[in-house]
C-alpha cells in the first residue's frame, strides 16, 4: 500500500485536487481510502464516500495541532486502510500550526497552495512546504499567466527541491502528472518516521498553562530580546 499526505491552508483546494486524483485512480483500477483530519468541522468523508463509494473517515483534532494529531493516529489509520484492502491511503490535513509538517518518510507529501493567495504565502508556511515532495498550485485559472509564474518562482526560491505542479482543480487540468507521481512512489514500510525535526521542546502552553510571561513556563522559552533557552530541570 502507498501513503499520500496532503496538507495546506484552509480552502486552497486540497479536496478538489484529491477528488480528481481519486477519479483518475479509479480509472486505473486502484482502490483509494481517504482520511480527513480537521480541527472541528469536516464533511469531505461523506461527500467522497457518496461520490466514489470509497472507504473514508474523519477525525477532529480538537485541542491538538492537526499535524500532531495526524502523527498520533496515522498508525491505526494505515491498519484500517489495509484492512479494507486499499492500494493508496490519501490523508487530507488542514495543517494549522505551521511549525511542524505532517509528512512521513515512506509516503508522499503534498502541499496544496492557491495561486490567488498572497505572494508571500510560500514564505510563511515553513516546513509544510520545505519538507513536501510536491507543491500543487491550484486556481491557476483565477490569475494572469505573469502572476502565476511569479508565484511559482516564490515557491521555488523558498523550497528549491520541491517539485511544482500547477493545476486547475475545478476541471482537473494538470492532475495526471500528479497521479503518475503518486502511483510511482514506493510502498509504505514498518516504523515510518515523521519527516524533519518537530518543533523544539514540549510546550507548557500547549498543555494548558495560561500564565503570561516566560518566567511562568518551563522547557524552551525566550525573552523579548535574545535567544531561546531552556528553563527547568
Amino acid at each position: 500500500m502507498k501513503l499520500c499526505i496532503c496538507a495546506g491552508p484552509a480552502t486552497t483546494g486540497k479536496t478538489s485536487v484529491l477528488r480528481h486524483v481519486i477519479k483518475k485512480l479509479i480509472t486505473m483500477n486502484l482502490k483509494s481510502a481517504y482520511l480527513k483530519i480537521d480541527v472541528q468541522y469536516a464533511e469531505e468523508d461523506e461527500l467522497l464516500a457518496s461520490e466514489f463509494g470509497i472507504p473514508t473517515r474523519k477525525i477532529y483534532s480538537g485541542e491538538l495541532c492537526p499535524d500532531h494529531c495526524n502523527v498520533v493516529v496515522l498508525g491505526e489509520t494505515l491498519e484500517w486502510a489495509q484492512s479494507v484492502s486499499s492500494d493508496i491511503l490519501l490523508v487530507e490535513t488542514a495543517g494549522l500550526c505551521l511549525r511542524c509538517s505532517p509528512y512521513v518518510d515512506g509516503g508522499m507529501g503534498i502541499i496544496v497552495l492557491e495561486a490567488t493567495s498572497g505572494i508571500n504565502l510560500p514564505l510563511k508556511v515553513g516546513p509544510m512546504l520545505s519538507l513536501a515532495d510536491t507543491a500543487v498550485i491550484t486556481k491557476i485559472d483565477r490569475v494572469s499567466q505573469a502572476e502565476r509564474e511569479v508565484f511559482r518562482m516564490r515557491i521555488q526560491d523558498v523550497a528549491p527541491s520541491v517539485r511544482i505542479r500547477e493545476v486547475n482543480a475545478l476541471h482537473g487540468i494538470g492532475i495526471d502528472p500528479l497521479v503518475e507521481q503518486i502511483t510511482q512512489m514506493g510502498d509504505i514500510h514498518e516504523n515510518m518516521l515523521l519527516r524533519g525535526n518537530p518543533p523544539v521542546g514540549t510546550c507548557t502552553i500547549c498543555v494548558g498553562k495560561k500564565e503570561i510571561g516566560w518566567k511562568q513556563h518551563f522547557g524552551i522559552v525566550r525573552k523579548l530580546h535574545g535567544e531561546v533557552f531552556y528553563q527547568g530541570e
Binding site: T116, G118, I119, D141, R142, V143, S144, Q145, A146, E147, E149, V150, F151, R152, M153, I164, H171, G172, I173, G174, I175, D176
Partner: protein, 261 residues
C-alpha cells in the same frame, strides 16, 4: 525555434466531436477566435497555453512543430514559448509594480544585466496604451482595470517576448487597442486574438469560429473582406478619435463628426 502550432480537435460541451481537421498556425500568422459569450473561446486559448495533451475537459491536443512539445515548455517558464494575456483585469499580489516586473523578468529572461532596461521598456510600452501613466512604486493591486491589461500586454511583448502571443479580448480593456496592435505587430510572431472586433478579425489570416464549447468552422479571410478591411480600419479610426475626445472630457465638434460620414 517554434515554426508552427497545431490544434488537434477534441469535443464540444456536449461531448460530441468538434471540427474534424487539425488546425495549423504558422509563424507570422494572425488568427482570430470568434463566437458568442460562453462559446469556449477562452477555453481554446487556455488549451493552447497549457499545451494540452488530451487531459483537459475538451480533450484537445497541441503540437509544436508537428511534434509533442517537451515537458520543459510547461514546467520551466524561461523556456515557455507562449505568452498569454488573460481576461483578468485585476492583480492579486500586492508587490510594487517594479518589483513584480523584476521578478517576472528574472523568470522569463535568464541574463540579468538587462533587467532594469527591460522593466523601463515595459513601463514605457504600457504607458503608451493607458490614459494615466503607471507609477512604478504603486502596488499591483492598485492599478486600474485598463492599467492592468496594459501592463500585461507590455509584459508579454517586452519581458516574455515569446514567438507565440495569445490575447483574450484586448478590445474590452479600455486601452489604446490600435496602438497595442501596432506595437505588438512589429515583431514576427504567431498572434491569436480572441475578439469581437471586426478590425482585428479582418486583419487575420483566418478566424476560428466557436460554438457550444467546440470549434465549429474555420473561415479564411477572402478577397471581399480584404478589400473591405481598409474601410473598416478608417471607420474604426474615426470612431476611435471620437472616443478619445469623449475620454478627454471635451466636446465633439462638427469637424470631428463630419469624419463619420
Amino acid at each position: 525555434m517554434v515554426k508552427s502550432i497545431t490544434i488537434l480537435p477534441g469535443s464540444n460541451r456536449q461531448g460530441n466531436p468538434e471540427f474534424k481537421e487539425s488546425i495549423e498556425l504558422k509563424m507570422g500568422n494572425v488568427i482570430s477566435i470568434v463566437g458568442p459569450t460562453g462559446s469556449g473561446k477562452t477555453t481554446l486559448i487556455n488549451d493552447i497555453e497549457l499545451l494540452s495533451d488530451g487531459t483537459t475537459p475538451t480533450g484537445r491536443r497541441i503540437l509544436i512543430n508537428n511534434a509533442l512539445p517537451p515537458a520543459d515548455y510547461r514546467n520551466n517558464p524561461s523556456r515557455n514559448p507562449i505568452a498569454l494575456i488573460t481576461q483578468h483585469t485585476t492583480f492579486l499580489s500586492d508587490l510594487p509594480v517594479h518589483e513584480f516586473l523584476f521578478m517576472h523578468a528574472r523568470i522569463r529572461n535568464k541574463n540579468d544585466q538587462h533587467v532594469s532596461e527591460l522593466i523601463q521598456k515595459t513601463i514605457d510600452f504600457a504607458n503608451q496604451l493607458t490614459g494615466e501613466p503607471i507609477i512604478t512604486n504603486s502596488k499591483m493591486t492598485e492599478l486600474s482595470g485598463g492599467q492592468t491589461r496594459a501592463l500585461l500586454i507590455a509584459d508579454a511583448a517586452v519581458i516574455c517576448d515569446t514567438p507565440v502571443v495569445l490575447l483574450d479580448e484586448v478590445e474590452n480593456a479600455g486601452i489604446h487597442r490600435t496602438r497595442a496592435l501596432e506595437l505588438l505587430r512589429r515583431h514576427e510572431k504567431i498572434f491569436v486574438f480572441v475578439t469581437h472586433d471586426p478590425r482585428i478579425a479582418l486583419l487575420s489570416d483566418f478566424r476560428v469560429i466557436m460554438k457550444e464549447g467546440g470549434i465549429a468552422q474555420v473561415l479564411y479571410t477572402n478577397h471581399v473582406e480584404r478589400d473591405f478591411a481598409e474601410r473598416v480600419t478608417k471607420l474604426d479610426d474615426v470612431l476611435g478619435s471620437l472616443r478619445e475626445i469623449i475620454r478627454k472630457g471635451e466636446r465633439l465638434t462638427t469637424e470631428a463628426l463630419e469624419g463619420v460620414l
